[in-house]
Symmetry: C2
Subunit: 233 residues, 2 copies
């Protein structure tokens, strides 16, 4: 049940997101939108990801929070361009915020753009940011039933990072059950179990990321076309 | 920066919340609104609280979720009346939802009403439910800087439960820093460190709860007046 005003806001957001997507398509940047609760470990996960990117890879991060620049400071230590988006109260990022920050970089050709959304399993789900895919981050310190309680994001995500698996010996959390619930909501969801502390699962994640980027390059007619134009004009 | 439509919704909510508060005042029920991220451990915390209530105490729970009756089923095992509020998508409870569920109990004279809000550190903060106080639940599996990133709820809460302290040996979390940040945002906030698994901190919490209930009875003119009316009319 969506209020007419909310519908109008969302449709305006969709329009802006389509513009962002089309520009990112042209420059061939794989863009992922990370959504999870506060404390699910999104920033630490992205920090480790940046450390593991093969040399020569170009990547950028937009990180959203209600207040503080903390996450941008943490992420910027890894030598990649990072911008903090502080929403000043809003519970989610929207396409306009992403667009204006991407203009700061003049939509440069990055291999990857990682967007860390505001910590919230609900509101960010409804806002398309122009990304290629959504990644939901669920920590094993939360409950297994989160996919059933917050089905929206698990339905829309193509990948679930089951995070902080180093804590499994100390928490009453059954990972099989969490995966079963996630697949009940979304049978196609891909799941990788990770720990940003120990590095467990990061081999699979980095391989997934590389495959996803190559698949995008191959199946993106816009990018090919843009590339041809650059080459022949 | 609040949109005029949002302001209208909030002011309508405040009107309903004032009605709920005044009824709860008359029946002398101490009402607490629990707010925290998904997976902060609100349900387990309330389960242990119900187990520890002195015999003869009357209490009820309203538990909010986007989907599922899971939490109501867990909470109802402890022999107290429980109702699930499923918001069907909304990211917070509002006063109207609370009011309609309280009518189901005909605003019975409970000693305590515990309201477990939807798992979300942002949106529930703006919606008064007619409660006496807000309790923010922060798990040590999240980051220490959550009070700085989500200042709204830490400013409004009178009590912070620093939860899952049994995990402290396994997570890079400094409780002193989290408390310092919380007090930077809200110098008056009371903090109790708890674990629903081991029971640590529940002595302090149950004592706080009892003191808070007695203080409410003593300082609530409405209740005294209502009580006098019941006694002498």
């Amino acid at each position: 049940m969506i209020h007419p005003i909310e519908r109008k806001v969302l449709s305006e957001n969709d329009r802006v997101a389509a513009g962002v997507r089309s520009r990112l398509e042209i420059v061939g940047t794989l863009t992922l939108n990370f959504i999870g609760s506060p404390g699910a470990g999104k920033t630490a996960f992205l920090e480790r990801t940046l450390q593991l990117l093969p040399s020569g890879t170009s990547a950028a991060v937009l990180t959203g929070d209600i207040q503080t620049e903390n996450d941008a400071i943490r992420l910027a230590r890894h030598g990649f361009p990072v911008q903090q988006i502080t929403t000043g109260g809003a519970c989610h990022l929207d396409a306009r915020m992403v667009e204006s920050h991407l203009w700061e970089w003049r939509f440069k050709e990055f291999d990857y753009l990682f967007i860390e959304n505001v910590g919230n399993l609900v509101c960010p789900t409804s806002y398309d940011l122009g990304e290629d895919g959504k990644v939901v981050v669920l920590s094993v310190a939360e409950g297994e039933d989160k996919p059933m309680k917050y089905p929206g994001i698990f339905r829309k995500a193509e990948l679930m990072i089951l995070n902080k698996v180093d804590l499994l010996p100390y928490v009453p959390f059954q990972p099989e059950l969490a995966c079963e619930y996630a697949r009940t909501i979304n049978p196609d969801i891909h799941i990788i179990q990770c720990s940003s502390l120990t590095g467990e699962g990061f081999g699979d994640w980095m391989a997934w990321l590389e495959r996803r980027r190559i698949a995008k390059r191959h199946f993106s007619p816009n990018h090919e076309e843009a590339h041809l134009q650059t080459t022949f004009v």
